[in-house]
Protein backbone atom coordinates (compact mmCIF):
# COMPACT_ATOMS: atom_id res chain seq x y z
CA UNK A 1 0.00 0.00 0.00
CA UNK A 2 1.46 3.35 -0.95
CA UNK A 3 1.91 6.30 1.38
CA UNK A 4 -1.05 8.22 -0.01
CA UNK A 5 -3.41 5.27 0.09
CA UNK A 6 -2.65 4.65 3.75
CA UNK A 7 -2.94 8.34 4.65
CA UNK A 8 -5.83 9.07 6.97
CA UNK A 9 -6.13 12.82 7.54
CA UNK A 10 -6.31 14.06 11.10
CA UNK A 11 -8.87 16.82 11.27
CA UNK A 12 -9.42 18.90 14.37
CA UNK A 13 -12.89 20.44 14.61
CA UNK A 14 -13.45 23.31 17.00
CA UNK A 15 -17.20 23.63 17.33
CA UNK A 16 -19.55 25.73 19.40
CA UNK A 17 -21.59 24.09 22.11
CA UNK A 18 -24.95 25.38 20.98
CA UNK A 19 -25.20 24.85 17.24
CA UNK A 20 -22.55 22.78 15.53
CA UNK A 21 -21.98 20.41 18.43
CA UNK A 22 -25.69 19.69 18.48
CA UNK A 23 -25.67 19.43 14.69
CA UNK A 24 -22.97 16.79 14.94
CA UNK A 25 -24.96 15.09 17.68
CA UNK A 26 -28.02 15.11 15.44
CA UNK A 27 -25.99 13.50 12.66
CA UNK A 28 -25.22 10.77 15.15
CA UNK A 29 -28.75 10.18 16.36
CA UNK A 30 -29.91 10.14 12.73
CA UNK A 31 -27.33 7.43 12.04
CA UNK A 32 -25.69 9.57 9.37
CA UNK A 33 -22.27 8.17 8.60
CA UNK A 34 -19.31 10.47 8.30
CA UNK A 35 -15.54 9.86 8.36
CA UNK A 36 -13.92 9.16 11.71
CA UNK A 37 -11.06 11.47 10.75
CA UNK A 38 -12.54 14.38 12.61
CA UNK A 39 -11.72 15.01 16.29
CA UNK A 40 -14.30 17.28 17.84
CA UNK A 41 -13.33 19.84 20.45
CA UNK A 42 -16.37 21.51 21.97
CA UNK A 43 -16.10 25.13 23.02
CA UNK A 44 -18.78 27.47 24.37
CA UNK A 45 -18.91 29.68 21.28
CA UNK A 46 -16.98 30.47 18.10
CA UNK A 47 -16.11 33.70 19.87
CA UNK A 48 -14.09 31.58 22.29
CA UNK A 49 -12.03 29.88 19.61
CA UNK A 50 -8.64 31.42 20.09
CA UNK A 51 -6.47 31.53 16.99
CA UNK A 52 -3.77 29.79 18.99
CA UNK A 53 -5.95 26.69 18.95
CA UNK A 54 -5.55 26.54 15.18
CA UNK A 55 -1.79 26.88 15.48
CA UNK A 56 -1.76 24.23 18.21
CA UNK A 57 -3.71 21.82 16.03
CA UNK A 58 -1.09 22.10 13.30
CA UNK A 59 1.76 21.96 15.82
CA UNK A 60 0.43 18.68 17.16
CA UNK A 61 0.00 16.98 13.83
CA UNK A 62 -3.37 18.09 12.49
CA UNK A 63 -3.74 17.98 8.73
CA UNK A 64 -6.74 20.30 8.65
CA UNK A 65 -8.81 22.38 11.04
CA UNK A 66 -12.54 22.84 10.94
CA UNK A 67 -14.14 25.72 12.76
CA UNK A 68 -17.87 25.83 13.04
CA UNK A 69 -20.59 27.56 14.99
CA UNK A 70 -24.02 29.12 14.84
CA UNK A 71 -25.23 30.94 11.75
CA UNK A 72 -25.09 34.74 11.91
CA UNK A 73 -28.02 35.89 13.98
CA UNK A 74 -28.28 32.61 15.91
CA UNK A 75 -25.50 33.03 18.45
CA UNK A 76 -26.47 31.87 21.92
CA UNK A 77 -24.52 34.84 23.25
CA UNK A 78 -26.02 37.21 20.66
CA UNK A 79 -22.80 38.27 18.90
CA UNK A 80 -19.99 35.78 19.58
CA UNK A 81 -20.01 34.54 16.01
CA UNK A 82 -20.00 38.07 14.58
CA UNK A 83 -16.86 38.84 16.57
CA UNK A 84 -15.35 35.55 15.45
CA UNK A 85 -16.16 36.28 11.81
CA UNK A 86 -14.26 39.55 11.96
CA UNK A 87 -11.32 37.92 13.60
CA UNK A 88 -11.10 35.19 10.98
CA UNK A 89 -11.29 37.78 8.23
CA UNK A 90 -8.08 39.23 9.62
CA UNK A 91 -6.48 36.01 10.76
CA UNK A 92 -6.68 34.32 7.38
CA UNK A 93 -4.52 37.08 5.95
CA UNK A 94 -1.91 36.52 8.66
CA UNK A 95 -1.90 32.79 7.94
CA UNK A 96 -1.31 33.68 4.30
CA UNK A 97 1.61 35.92 5.20
CA UNK A 98 3.18 33.28 7.44
CA UNK A 99 2.78 30.69 4.71
CA UNK A 100 0.38 28.36 6.48
CA UNK A 101 -1.91 26.75 3.90
CA UNK A 102 -5.29 28.41 4.37
CA UNK A 103 -7.07 25.73 2.37
CA UNK A 104 -6.51 23.52 5.39
CA UNK A 105 -8.50 25.83 7.64
CA UNK A 106 -12.20 25.63 6.98
CA UNK A 107 -14.89 27.81 8.50
CA UNK A 108 -18.57 26.91 8.40
CA UNK A 109 -21.85 27.75 10.07
CA UNK A 110 -23.81 24.64 11.07
CA UNK A 111 -26.96 24.88 13.15
CA UNK A 112 -28.33 22.33 15.61
CA UNK A 113 -30.77 21.19 12.93
CA UNK A 114 -28.15 20.69 10.23
CA UNK A 115 -26.94 17.18 10.95
CA UNK A 116 -26.89 16.60 7.25
CA UNK A 117 -24.70 19.63 6.60
CA UNK A 118 -22.26 18.46 9.26
CA UNK A 119 -22.01 15.11 7.48
CA UNK A 120 -21.44 16.85 4.14
CA UNK A 121 -18.83 19.27 5.47
CA UNK A 122 -16.85 16.53 7.20
CA UNK A 123 -17.10 14.29 4.13
CA UNK A 124 -15.86 17.02 1.84
CA UNK A 125 -13.10 18.28 4.10
CA UNK A 126 -11.81 14.76 4.65
CA UNK A 127 -11.71 14.12 0.92
CA UNK A 128 -10.08 17.48 0.24
CA UNK A 129 -7.44 16.88 2.90
CA UNK A 130 -6.83 13.39 1.56
CA UNK A 131 -6.08 14.98 -1.82
CA UNK A 132 -3.89 17.67 -0.28
CA UNK A 133 -1.94 15.04 1.60
CA UNK A 134 -0.44 15.20 5.08
CA UNK A 135 0.37 18.71 6.26
CA UNK A 136 4.09 18.45 6.80
CA UNK A 137 4.96 22.13 6.26
CA UNK A 138 4.17 23.60 9.63
CA UNK A 139 4.77 20.38 11.56
CA UNK A 140 8.30 20.19 10.19
CA UNK A 141 8.89 23.71 11.38
CA UNK A 142 7.69 22.81 14.85
CA UNK A 143 9.74 19.66 15.07
CA UNK A 144 12.92 21.33 13.90
CA UNK A 145 14.97 22.64 16.76
CA UNK A 146 16.51 26.01 16.26
Amino acid sequence: MSETESFEPKIVAYVCNWCTYLGADLAGTNRLEYPANVRIVRLPCTGRIDFNLIIKAFEMGGDAVLISGCHPGDCHYTAGNYHARRRWMLFRQLLEAVGIETERVQFTWISAAEGKKWQKVVDELTEKTRTLGPYVGYREVCEANG
Binding site: D50, F51, N52, I55, K56, E59, P72, G73, A79, Y82, H83, R85, R86, R87, W88, M89, L90, F91, R92, Q93, L94, E96, A97, V98, G99, I100, E101, T102, Q106, F107, T108, W109, V121, G137, Y138, V141, C142, E143, A144, N145, G146
Partner: protein, 316 residues
Protein backbone atom coordinates in the same frame (compact mmCIF):
# COMPACT_ATOMS: atom_id res chain seq x y z
CA UNK B 1 12.77 73.95 15.29
CA UNK B 2 14.76 72.67 18.24
CA UNK B 3 14.66 76.10 19.88
CA UNK B 4 10.89 76.31 19.49
CA UNK B 5 10.62 72.85 21.02
CA UNK B 6 12.82 73.79 23.95
CA UNK B 7 10.97 77.08 24.48
CA UNK B 8 7.62 75.31 24.41
CA UNK B 9 8.80 72.71 26.89
CA UNK B 10 10.43 75.27 29.16
CA UNK B 11 7.20 77.22 29.27
CA UNK B 12 5.10 74.13 29.97
CA UNK B 13 7.29 73.20 32.91
CA UNK B 14 7.50 76.78 34.22
CA UNK B 15 3.76 77.20 34.08
CA UNK B 16 3.32 73.93 35.89
CA UNK B 17 1.11 72.64 33.08
CA UNK B 18 3.08 69.42 32.98
CA UNK B 19 5.49 67.68 35.36
CA UNK B 20 7.63 65.84 32.87
CA UNK B 21 8.53 66.13 29.19
CA UNK B 22 9.07 62.85 27.43
CA UNK B 23 11.41 63.80 24.61
CA UNK B 24 14.56 62.86 22.73
CA UNK B 25 18.04 63.43 24.10
CA UNK B 26 21.61 62.53 23.33
CA UNK B 27 24.81 62.46 25.35
CA UNK B 28 26.03 66.04 25.06
CA UNK B 29 29.35 66.53 23.26
CA UNK B 30 32.17 67.42 25.60
CA UNK B 31 30.51 65.81 28.58
CA UNK B 32 31.71 62.38 27.53
CA UNK B 33 34.12 60.82 29.94
CA UNK B 34 37.57 62.24 29.47
CA UNK B 35 40.25 59.57 29.05
CA UNK B 36 42.91 61.70 30.67
CA UNK B 37 41.18 61.23 34.02
CA UNK B 38 41.88 57.58 33.94
CA UNK B 39 44.61 55.92 35.85
CA UNK B 40 46.13 53.30 33.58
CA UNK B 41 46.79 51.03 36.53
CA UNK B 42 43.95 48.60 35.99
CA UNK B 43 45.05 47.63 32.52
CA UNK B 44 46.82 44.28 32.25
CA UNK B 45 50.23 44.74 30.78
CA UNK B 46 50.13 41.96 28.19
CA UNK B 47 47.85 43.92 25.92
CA UNK B 48 49.27 47.08 24.49
CA UNK B 49 46.88 49.96 24.71
CA UNK B 50 46.76 53.64 25.33
CA UNK B 51 43.96 56.04 25.91
CA UNK B 52 44.29 57.81 22.61
CA UNK B 53 40.92 58.71 21.20
CA UNK B 54 39.99 56.32 18.44
CA UNK B 55 39.52 59.14 15.94
CA UNK B 56 43.29 59.39 15.75
CA UNK B 57 43.72 55.75 14.84
CA UNK B 58 42.87 54.18 11.54
CA UNK B 59 39.84 52.51 12.97
CA UNK B 60 36.41 53.25 11.64
CA UNK B 61 34.83 54.94 14.56
CA UNK B 62 31.83 57.23 14.64
CA UNK B 63 33.43 57.98 17.96
CA UNK B 64 32.05 61.12 19.45
CA UNK B 65 28.91 60.98 21.47
CA UNK B 66 27.30 63.46 19.12
CA UNK B 67 26.91 60.50 16.79
CA UNK B 68 25.73 58.28 19.59
CA UNK B 69 22.21 57.02 19.69
CA UNK B 70 19.36 59.36 20.33
CA UNK B 71 17.47 58.12 23.35
CA UNK B 72 14.41 59.04 25.37
CA UNK B 73 14.85 61.61 28.12
CA UNK B 74 12.49 62.73 30.85
CA UNK B 75 12.84 66.40 31.59
CA UNK B 76 11.41 67.60 34.88
CA UNK B 77 13.05 71.02 35.33
CA UNK B 78 12.83 74.03 32.99
CA UNK B 79 16.62 74.46 33.12
CA UNK B 80 17.12 70.97 31.69
CA UNK B 81 15.20 71.47 28.45
CA UNK B 82 18.44 72.08 26.59
CA UNK B 83 18.98 68.34 26.79
CA UNK B 84 16.24 67.94 24.23
CA UNK B 85 17.35 67.23 20.67
CA UNK B 86 15.60 66.92 17.35
CA UNK B 87 17.32 65.28 14.40
CA UNK B 88 16.78 62.52 11.87
CA UNK B 89 17.58 59.79 14.36
CA UNK B 90 14.63 60.45 16.66
CA UNK B 91 13.25 57.05 15.72
CA UNK B 92 11.65 55.97 18.97
CA UNK B 93 7.92 56.12 19.45
CA UNK B 94 7.83 57.79 22.85
CA UNK B 95 4.16 57.10 23.42
CA UNK B 96 5.26 53.70 24.76
CA UNK B 97 6.31 55.44 27.97
CA UNK B 98 2.82 56.68 28.77
CA UNK B 99 1.95 53.20 30.01
CA UNK B 100 5.05 52.62 32.11
CA UNK B 101 4.54 52.93 35.87
CA UNK B 102 7.99 54.53 36.37
CA UNK B 103 6.98 57.37 34.08
CA UNK B 104 3.43 57.67 35.33
CA UNK B 105 4.89 58.19 38.79
CA UNK B 106 6.54 61.39 37.56
CA UNK B 107 3.23 63.16 37.18
CA UNK B 108 1.44 64.81 34.30
CA UNK B 109 3.36 64.21 31.08
CA UNK B 110 3.97 66.05 27.86
CA UNK B 111 5.10 63.76 25.09
CA UNK B 112 6.99 64.60 21.90
CA UNK B 113 5.56 62.74 18.92
CA UNK B 114 5.99 62.50 15.19
CA UNK B 115 2.99 62.10 12.96
CA UNK B 116 3.33 58.31 12.90
CA UNK B 117 3.70 58.10 16.68
CA UNK B 118 0.62 60.22 17.24
CA UNK B 119 -1.53 57.49 15.70
CA UNK B 120 -0.64 55.29 18.65
CA UNK B 121 -2.22 57.85 20.98
CA UNK B 122 -5.47 57.62 19.04
CA UNK B 123 -5.64 53.86 19.51
CA UNK B 124 -4.62 54.05 23.17
CA UNK B 125 -7.33 56.57 23.85
CA UNK B 126 -9.92 54.50 22.02
CA UNK B 127 -8.93 51.48 24.10
CA UNK B 128 -9.29 53.49 27.32
CA UNK B 129 -5.59 53.32 28.08
CA UNK B 130 -5.09 57.03 27.93
CA UNK B 131 -6.96 60.06 29.14
CA UNK B 132 -6.06 62.48 26.38
CA UNK B 133 -6.90 65.50 28.53
CA UNK B 134 -4.19 64.45 30.98
CA UNK B 135 -1.40 64.37 28.38
CA UNK B 136 0.08 67.35 26.60
CA UNK B 137 1.03 66.23 23.10
CA UNK B 138 3.79 68.08 21.27
CA UNK B 139 3.80 67.22 17.58
CA UNK B 140 6.96 67.52 15.51
CA UNK B 141 6.73 68.06 11.79
CA UNK B 142 8.92 65.38 10.28
CA UNK B 143 10.06 64.91 6.71
CA UNK B 144 11.73 61.57 7.16
CA UNK B 145 13.66 59.47 9.64
CA UNK B 146 15.03 57.38 6.76
CA UNK B 147 13.13 54.29 7.81
CA UNK B 148 11.16 52.09 5.41
CA UNK B 149 7.88 53.41 6.81
CA UNK B 150 8.86 56.96 5.92
CA UNK B 151 8.57 56.18 2.21
CA UNK B 152 4.81 55.85 2.51
CA UNK B 153 4.26 58.40 5.27
CA UNK B 154 1.17 60.56 4.93
CA UNK B 155 1.38 62.27 8.32
CA UNK B 156 4.46 64.44 8.05
CA UNK B 157 2.63 66.94 10.21
CA UNK B 158 1.02 65.27 13.20
CA UNK B 159 -2.71 65.58 13.77
CA UNK B 160 -4.61 65.87 17.01
CA UNK B 161 -1.73 67.29 19.00
CA UNK B 162 -1.82 70.27 21.35
CA UNK B 163 0.85 71.98 19.30
CA UNK B 164 2.73 71.27 16.09
CA UNK B 165 6.29 72.49 15.87
CA UNK B 166 7.88 73.15 12.50
CA UNK B 167 6.63 72.72 9.00
CA UNK B 168 7.16 69.65 6.86
CA UNK B 169 8.70 70.15 3.46
CA UNK B 170 7.64 66.72 2.32
CA UNK B 171 4.76 66.25 0.02
CA UNK B 172 1.72 65.19 1.97
CA UNK B 173 -0.15 63.93 -1.05
CA UNK B 174 -2.30 60.95 -0.27
CA UNK B 175 -0.46 57.66 -0.40
CA UNK B 176 -2.38 54.92 -2.16
CA UNK B 177 -3.04 51.56 -0.56
CA UNK B 178 -0.89 49.99 -3.26
CA UNK B 179 2.07 52.08 -2.20
CA UNK B 180 1.40 51.46 1.46
CA UNK B 181 1.26 47.70 1.04
CA UNK B 182 3.81 47.25 -1.72
CA UNK B 183 6.18 45.35 0.57
CA UNK B 184 3.55 42.85 1.69
CA UNK B 185 2.09 42.52 -1.80
CA UNK B 186 5.52 41.63 -3.13
CA UNK B 187 5.88 39.11 -0.34
CA UNK B 188 2.45 37.59 -0.88
CA UNK B 189 3.31 37.13 -4.55
CA UNK B 190 5.59 34.30 -3.47
CA UNK B 191 4.15 30.83 -3.03
CA UNK B 192 2.84 29.71 0.33
CA UNK B 193 5.72 27.27 0.83
CA UNK B 194 8.25 29.98 -0.04
CA UNK B 195 6.69 32.25 2.56
CA UNK B 196 6.86 29.53 5.19
CA UNK B 197 10.47 28.85 4.22
CA UNK B 198 11.23 32.55 4.58
CA UNK B 199 9.84 32.74 8.09
CA UNK B 200 11.49 29.49 9.00
CA UNK B 201 14.83 31.01 8.13
CA UNK B 202 14.12 34.38 9.76
CA UNK B 203 12.43 33.21 12.94
CA UNK B 204 15.20 30.66 13.52
CA UNK B 205 17.25 33.65 14.66
CA UNK B 206 14.74 34.97 17.18
CA UNK B 207 16.15 34.72 20.70
CA UNK B 208 12.91 35.83 22.37
CA UNK B 209 14.33 38.98 23.94
CA UNK B 210 10.85 40.46 23.54
CA UNK B 211 12.23 43.82 22.46
CA UNK B 212 9.47 43.82 19.82
CA UNK B 213 6.89 43.59 22.57
CA UNK B 214 8.50 46.02 24.99
CA UNK B 215 8.85 48.88 22.50
CA UNK B 216 5.31 48.49 21.23
CA UNK B 217 2.93 51.19 22.48
CA UNK B 218 0.04 48.76 21.93
CA UNK B 219 1.55 45.98 24.05
CA UNK B 220 0.32 47.27 27.38
CA UNK B 221 -0.97 44.06 28.97
CA UNK B 222 0.34 43.82 32.53
CA UNK B 223 1.06 40.17 31.88
CA UNK B 224 1.59 39.09 28.32
CA UNK B 225 -0.03 35.86 27.17
CA UNK B 226 3.41 34.38 26.53
CA UNK B 227 4.24 34.95 30.20
CA UNK B 228 1.13 33.11 31.33
CA UNK B 229 1.83 29.56 32.30
CA UNK B 230 -1.41 28.13 33.64
CA UNK B 231 -1.80 26.88 30.99
CA UNK B 232 1.28 27.65 28.94
CA UNK B 233 -0.33 28.33 25.58
CA UNK B 234 2.82 29.50 23.82
CA UNK B 235 6.10 27.69 24.25
CA UNK B 236 8.62 30.03 25.86
CA UNK B 237 11.53 28.29 24.18
CA UNK B 238 13.27 30.14 21.40
CA UNK B 239 12.84 27.17 19.09
CA UNK B 240 11.07 27.44 15.76
CA UNK B 241 7.89 26.11 17.31
CA UNK B 242 7.97 28.65 20.12
CA UNK B 243 9.06 31.46 17.83
CA UNK B 244 6.33 30.88 15.26
CA UNK B 245 3.71 30.69 17.97
CA UNK B 246 5.03 33.87 19.54
CA UNK B 247 5.28 35.93 16.38
CA UNK B 248 1.89 34.83 15.09
CA UNK B 249 0.42 35.76 18.45
CA UNK B 250 2.22 39.07 18.66
CA UNK B 251 1.12 40.05 15.19
CA UNK B 252 -2.47 38.98 15.65
CA UNK B 253 -2.87 40.65 19.01
CA UNK B 254 -1.97 43.80 17.13
CA UNK B 255 -4.43 43.16 14.31
CA UNK B 256 -6.12 46.40 13.31
CA UNK B 257 -4.36 48.02 16.28
CA UNK B 258 -0.81 48.28 14.97
CA UNK B 259 -0.24 51.84 13.77
CA UNK B 260 2.84 50.93 11.75
CA UNK B 261 5.46 52.80 13.76
CA UNK B 262 7.72 49.83 13.01
CA UNK B 263 9.57 50.09 16.28
CA UNK B 264 9.44 46.29 16.59
CA UNK B 265 11.33 45.96 13.35
CA UNK B 266 13.82 48.68 14.19
CA UNK B 267 14.82 47.24 17.56
CA UNK B 268 15.05 43.55 16.67
CA UNK B 269 18.67 42.65 17.43
CA UNK B 270 18.45 39.79 14.96
CA UNK B 271 17.17 41.92 12.09
CA UNK B 272 13.88 40.10 11.58
CA UNK B 273 11.51 42.00 9.31
CA UNK B 274 8.48 41.83 11.59
CA UNK B 275 6.86 44.66 9.70
CA UNK B 276 5.69 42.21 7.04
CA UNK B 277 3.39 40.47 9.51
CA UNK B 278 2.01 43.76 10.76
CA UNK B 279 1.48 45.00 7.21
CA UNK B 280 -0.48 41.91 6.23
CA UNK B 281 -2.97 42.58 9.00
CA UNK B 282 -3.12 46.30 8.35
CA UNK B 283 -3.92 45.48 4.76
CA UNK B 284 -6.67 43.06 5.78
CA UNK B 285 -8.18 45.71 8.05
CA UNK B 286 -8.10 48.34 5.34
CA UNK B 287 -9.46 46.08 2.61
CA UNK B 288 -12.23 44.53 4.66
CA UNK B 289 -13.23 47.34 6.96
CA UNK B 290 -11.78 50.48 5.36
CA UNK B 291 -10.02 50.91 8.67
CA UNK B 292 -6.54 52.16 9.45
CA UNK B 293 -5.52 52.06 13.09
CA UNK B 294 -4.92 55.50 14.52
CA UNK B 295 -6.36 57.32 11.53
CA UNK B 296 -9.75 58.40 12.72
CA UNK B 297 -10.39 59.08 16.42
CA UNK B 298 -14.11 58.54 15.83
CA UNK B 299 -13.88 55.13 14.16
CA UNK B 300 -14.82 52.09 16.24
CA UNK B 301 -11.92 49.66 16.68
CA UNK B 302 -12.26 46.73 14.28
CA UNK B 303 -11.52 44.04 16.82
CA UNK B 304 -13.94 44.31 19.70
CA UNK B 305 -16.78 45.48 17.52
CA UNK B 306 -18.68 43.90 14.64
CA UNK B 307 -21.17 44.67 11.92
CA UNK B 308 -24.05 42.48 10.77
CA UNK B 309 -23.08 43.17 7.18
CA UNK B 310 -19.42 42.08 7.45
CA UNK B 311 -18.65 40.43 4.13
CA UNK B 312 -16.44 37.43 3.68
CA UNK B 313 -16.34 34.69 1.12
CA UNK B 314 -14.65 31.85 2.94
CA UNK B 315 -17.26 30.72 5.50
CA UNK B 316 -19.48 28.07 4.02
Amino acid sequence: MIETLRDTCRQLLRDGKVDVIIGYGQDPVGQAFSPSDVAQAFSPSDVARASSPCSSTQARCPGSDADGPVFPVFIQRPEDVDQLVWNNRCYANLSVYLKRPEIRALGRPAVVVKGCDQRALVVLEKESQLDRSQVHVIGMACDSMNRPKCETCDVHEPRGTDVVIGKAASNTNAISADQRYSAINAFLARSSSERLAYWRQELARCVKCYACRQVCPMCYCPRCIVDKNRPQVISTSATLKGNFAWHITRAFHLAARCVGCEECTRVCPMGIDLRLLNLSLAQAAEENFAFRAGDDPQAEPVVGSYALQDKESFIQ
